[in-house]
C-alpha cells in the first residue's frame, strides 16, 4: 500500500499549484465585469440624453412652427391694414371725383365706386376684427375706426352736400386724417408685434440649433463610448475564449497525465498484491507441510503410548500422555486452521488483483436469464430457508462483461440469503431501471440489515459487519466493488439495522471503459 501514496501526492500538487494562479484571474474578470457594467450604464445614460435632446428638438420645431405661424398671421393683418388704407384712399378719391364731376350725385359711376369701396372696407374690417380678436388694443382701434368711418361716411357719402359747395371740407379732412392715423396705428401695432414675433422665432431657431448641436455632440460621444465598450467586450471575450482554449488543452493534458499516473499506480498495486500474495504462499506451504509432517509423526507416537499403556502402564507418564493425546493435536489443529485461513485471505488478494487485470469482454446480457441462473444455482438454500424471491420481469438488458456481472449478482444474492433476520421469513426483491446511459439494479432483502456506520466498511477487504455468526472472510463485497468499478459502475447500500438492505448497482448501459484503459 505505501507505494500508492507518492504518485498520489505528486498528483495533487500540480492541481493545487494550478488552482492558485486561477484565483486572481477570476478576481480580475470580476472587476472587469464591474467596469463593463459601469460603462454600460454610462452609455445608457448617453442614449437617454440623446433621446431627451431629440424630444426637445422636436418640441422646439413645434415652437418654431408656431412662431412662424404668428409671423405669417401678422403679415396677413398688415396686408389687410395696408389694403384698408388703400381702400380708404379710394373712398376719398371716388368721393372727390364724384363731387367734381357730378356734384356728388347719387347715381354716378363714382358713387357706385364709393359704395363698392365702402363695402370692401367693411369686409376688411370684419376680417381684421376676426384676425385681431386676441389683441384688445387692435380691437379698440378697430372700434374707433368704425366710429370714425361712420362719421366720415356721414359727411362724405354720395348724396350729401349736393352742389358745388362743400360746407365741411375741414371736417371731412379731419375725419379722414383720424382714420389714417388709426390705420397707421393698426399697422404700427402689427409692425411692433411682427418684430417681437420674429425675434421670438429667431430665438427658438437659435435654441433649436443649439439643442441640435448638443444632441449631435452627445450622439458622437455615445457612439464613441458604445464602440469602445463593444470593442473592449469583444477583446475581453476573445481573450477569455483563448484562455479557455488554453485551459481546456491544459486540462486534457492534465487528465491524460492523471490517467496515466493512476494507471501506473493501479498496475503497481496489482503487481504488489500479486507479489505479496505469491511470496506469502511460499512460507505457508512450509508451515502447512511441516504441520502435516508433525501430525503424521504423531501417529506412531500415539500408537507407542497406546502400546505402552497396555504393556507397561508404569512407564507412561501423565504429561507424556497428555502431550501426545491433547496438547500436540490441539496445537497442530490451531496452526492448521490459522494457516488455512491465511491461505484463503492471500487467495482473496490474489483473486482481486487478477480481477483488476482481467480483460473485460462486453456482450449483450439478458439480465432476467442471468438472474434466474444465479438464483437457480442456490435454489436448494433458498428453498431450505423458505425465502421468497421476486424478480422484476423487465430487468433492462446491459452490454457488459457476463462473468463479472454474474459474480456481482451471485455475491449479492448469496449475501441476501446468508444474512437473514432470524424469525422473519426472507424476502428478496430484484429490480432494475434505465436512467439515461446508466442502468440501475437494486437487490433488496428484509434481512438483518447493516448499521449505517458500517456502510463504507462492508465494501473493504476482510471487513465485515454485525453479528459474526456466518462463515466468511469479508471478501465478497470487496470483490463485488472491485468488479463494479472495473465495469465503470458504482455500488451503494441503503440499510439500517434490522431493516433489511438494498444494494444499488449503477452500471453503464454499454461498457466503454476498455478504450480509456487502452489510452
Amino acid at each position: 500500500m505505501p507505494e500508492v501514496k507518492p504518485p498520489k501526492m505528486l498528483d495533487t500538487s500540480p492541481e493545487s499549484s494550478a488552482a492558485s494562479p486561477d484565483a486572481p484571474a477570476r478576481a480580475t474578470t470580476l472587476s472587469q465585469r464591474n467596469f463593463g457594467y459601469k460603462v454600460l450604464a454610462l452609455v445608457a445614460l448617453g442614449f437617454l440624453a440623446v433621446l431627451a435632446a431629440g424630444i426637445s428638438a422636436g418640441l422646439l420645431v413645434g415652437r418654431v412652427q408656431t412662431d412662424t405661424g404668428w409671423v405669417e398671421h401678422t403679415f396677413q393683418v398688415q396686408q389687410q391694414v395696408q389694403s384698408l388704407a388703400l381702400d380708404l384712399q379710394n373712398l376719398r378719391t371716388s368721393r372727390a371725383l364724384n363731387r367734381l364731376r357730378h356734384q356728388n350725385a347719387l347715381n354716378s359711376p363714382e358713387a357706385a365706386d364709393y359704395a363698392n369701396t365702402y363695402r370692401n372696407i367693411h369686409t376688411k374690417l370684419d376680417s381684421l376684427a376676426r384676425l385681431t380678436r386676441d389683441n384688445p388694443r387692435q380691437a379698440e382701434r378697430l372700434a374707433a375706426f368704425h366710429i370714425w368711418l361712420q362719421r366720415y361716411v356721414a359727411v362724405s357719402a354720395p348724396g350729401t352736400f349736393i352742389g358745388p359747395a362743400d360746407p365741411v371740407p375741414q371736417v371731412n379732412n379731419h375725419l379722414f386724417e383720424q382714420l389714417q392715423v388709426l390705420t397707421v396705428g393698426l399697422f404700427g401695432e402689427e409692425q411692433h408685434l411682427l418684430s417681437l414675433r420674429i425675434a421670438n422665432e429667431r430665438a427658438s431657431i437659435a435654441i433649436f440649433w443649439k439643442v441640435l448641436t448638443a444632441a449631435g455632440i452627445l450622439l458622437v460621444i455615445v457612439a464613441i463610448g458604445s464602440v469602445t465598450v463593444i470593442r473592449r467586450y469583444t477583446v475581453d471575450l476573445a481573450g477569455s475564449r483563448d484562455e479557455l482554449q488554453k485551459l481546456n488543452a491544459g486540462l486534457e493534458d492534465m487528465v491524460r497525465d492523471r490517467t496515466a499516473d493512476l494507471q501506473r499506480a493501479n498496475d503497481e498495486i496489482q503487481r504488489f498484491a500479486y507479489i505479496v500474495s505469491h511470496d506469502l504462499r511460499s512460507p505457508l506451504v512450509n508451515v502447512l507441510g511441516f504441520t502435516s509432517e508433525l501430525s503424521s509423526a504423531l501417529k506412531p507416537l500415539d500408537a507407542l503410548i497406546e502400546r505402552a499403556e497396555a504393556e507397561a502402564p508404569q512407564i507412561v507418564e501423565e504429561s507424556a500422555r497428555l502431550a501426545v493425546r491433547e496438547d500436540l493435536p490441539e496445537a497442530i489443529g490451531f496452526i492448521r486452521t490459522s494457516t488455512q485461513k491465511m491461505d484463503r485471505l492471500i487467495n482473496a488478494i490474489l483473486r482481486l488483483s487478477r480481477e483488476g487485470s482481467r480483460t473485460v469482454a462486453p456482450e449483450r446480457i439478458d439480465m432476467n436469464a442471468l438472474v434466474d441462473g444465479v438464483i437457480g444455482a442456490i435454489k436448494h438454500r433458498i428453498d431450505e430457508e423458505g425465502i421468497t424471491v421476486r424478480v422484476a420481469s423487465n430487468l433492462p438488458p446491459i452490454i457488459s462483461d457476463r462473468l463479472a456481472i454474474e459474480q456481482v449478482f451471485s455475491n449479492l444474492v448469496e449475501n441476501a440469503v446468508k444474512y437473514l433476520k432470524k424469525g422473519r421469513p426472507g424476502e428478496i426483491d430484484i429490480r432494475g431501471r434505465a436512467l439515461g446511459a446508466q442502468i440501475i439494479y437494486e437487490i433488496q432483502d428484509n434481512g438483518r440489515g447493516i448499521d449505517p456506520r458500517d456502510h463504507a466498511r462492508v465494501f473493504d477487504l476482510f471487513r465485515r459487519s454485525g453479528v459474526q455468526d456466518q462463515p466468511g472472510e469479508g471478501i465478497g463485497l470487496a470483490n463485488v466493488r472491485a468488479l463494479v468499478y472495473r465495469l465503470g459502475g458504482l455500488i451503494d447500500v441503503r440499510s439500517a439495522l434490522d431493516q433489511g438492505a438494498t444494494f444499488i448497482l449503477t452500471l453503464p448501459a454499454v461498457f466503454t471503459g476498455e478504450k480509456e484503459q487502452a489510452k
Binding site: H278, R281, N286, S292
Partner: protein, 148 residues
C-alpha cells in the same frame, strides 16, 4: 532400468523447507536416486556444467526447478538449459513452483520445460503431487547425455 545408469536428481529450490518436503515425499514414493539440492541459481548452474559429477560431465539427470530464486529467475536457468546446442538440452526439467500465472506457465513451456507443477498450499495435495512425480520419475526414460 535406473540401476545401470544412475540418474541424478538436481533440485534447485531456494526454500529449505520446500526442498525437505519435496525430498521426503520423493523418498516416500520409493525413489532412491541421489538428490542434489541447490538454493541458488549460480551454484546450480556451476554444478550442472562444471562439476565432474554434474550431468554435463557425468550421466543423465532430471532437474526440479523453482522459478523464484534469490540470484536469478528460474526461467533464465530454464532458457539456458534448453538453448539450442546445449549439452543438457534433452535433460527433462520439471518446474515446481508456487506461481500459477497463465503467462508464466506458457513462457516456461515455450522455453522447453517438460512438466510444470504448481505447489499446492494444501499439504496433502502437495505430498500426493510429489509422490506422483516420484512414480513418474521411476518409469520415464531419459536420454543419454552426449560427450561422455
Amino acid at each position: 532400468m535406473m540401476a545401470h545408469i544412475p540418474v541424478n536428481i538436481v533440485m534447485i529450490e531456494d526454500d529449505e523447507g520446500h526442498a525437505r518436503l519435496i525430498e521426503k515425499n520423493i523418498r516416500r514414493a520409493g525413489i532412491s536416486n541421489p538428490i542434489r539440492h541447490f538454493t541458488d541459481g549460480t551454484s546450480a548452474l556451476n554444478f550442472l556444467y562444471e562439476d565432474p559429477n554434474g550431468p554435463a560431465q557425468n550421466g543423465p539427470a532430471l532437474i526440479l526447478l523453482d522459478l523464484n530464486l534469490p540470484d536469478m529467475s528460474g526461467t533464465d536457468i530454464l532458457g539456458r538449459i534448453k538453448a539450442d546446442g546445449n549439452p543438457l538440452k534433452r535433460t527433462p526439467v520439471v518446474v515446481l513452483t508456487t506461481t500459477d500465472d497463465k503467462v508464466e506457465i506458457q513462457r516456461c513451456y515455450d522455453l522447453g520445460c517438460n512438466v510444470y507443477i504448481t505447489k499446492p498450499v494444501n499439504y496433502e495435495s502437495f505430498a500426493e503431487a510429489i509422490r506422483q512425480l516420484g512414480l513418474f520419475l521411476s518409469v520415464i526414460q531419459l536420454p543419454e547425455i552426449k560427450g561422455d
